[in-house]
Amino acid sequence: MTEHRTPLARVRGLGSAKTGTGHFWHQRLTAVANVPLTITFVLIVFALLGRNHAAAQQILATPPVAIVMLLFIGSITYHMRIGMQVIIEDYVHDEIPKLVLIMLNTFFAVAVALASAYAIFKLSFGV
């Protein structure tokens, strides 16, 4: 049988695949995490409805609430980054605009995540 693989591929011994499912897997992983986190998030928002600033501040700074919010923020922003990347790859076919949008997508997801997490930390640790 003829060997079609390059020497490097043969040395690595991984065949054609072994990577490339990471995207799919992380999408599912965060999807599963998002279900309980979203339900808890809705409950937290419900507990905050109609509260004044002091009460809202106090509730969001409670350790279980703050921890769930941080997990929620991390999981949804990671999930939405993957999801939007798929949308971009589906509809934008020109290489440069596609790369630019994929970059902006990551910047947006990271910025939202960091800004939201920063707010939770500030509420929790004061100043």
């Binding site: 999807a31 939202v112 707010a119």
Partner: protein, 135 residues
């Protein structure tokens, strides 16, 4: 290549040709709600930053979210969140290889849209009853 005539080979019909089956409509809605939630995270970030910034910023956010446009956006966000969550659960069921028969596909898709609208209305009714709709 002489004379460029329209290709005679069969072309795949596009979306608008079909009567939309429910699972197809739900698939499209899943992507649309996902896109909506993507933008909607800005609202969550604003809410959290406003709360962390102090009473004035919190009041500004409150004034926006309690305005009719704010309530409309929040209502849409609630529905998109629940619809995307229920649709996601349906996709996770399909990932296990289950629920692919004709009747199962139909009722899972119907459950997504009926469930999301029902839950959204229920949540909003409860919230309005419990706080009277305003601050």
């Amino acid at each position: 290549m002489a004379g460029s005539k329209a290709p005679t080979r069969p072309l795949s019909p596009h979306m608008q040709i079909y009567r939309w089956p429910l699972p197809m409509a739900m698939s499209i809605l899943h992507r649309i709600t996902g896109g909506g939630l993507y933008v909607g995270t800005l609202l969550m970030a604003w809410w959290l930053i406003a709360t962390a910034s102090g009473p004035n910023a919190y009041a500004t956010f409150g004034a926006f979210i309690n305005s009719w446009i704010g309530q409309l956006i929040l209502f849409g966000y609630t529905w998109a969140l629940l619809h995307h969550m229920l649709g996601g659960i349906r996709h996770l069921i399909w990932d296990t290889g289950r629920g692919f028969s004709q009747s199962e596909r139909e009722w899972l898709s119907l459950a997504t849209v009926v469930g999301s609208i029902g839950l959204t209305v229920l949540l909003w009714v409860i919230s309005y009853l419990s706080i009277g709709g305003t601050q």
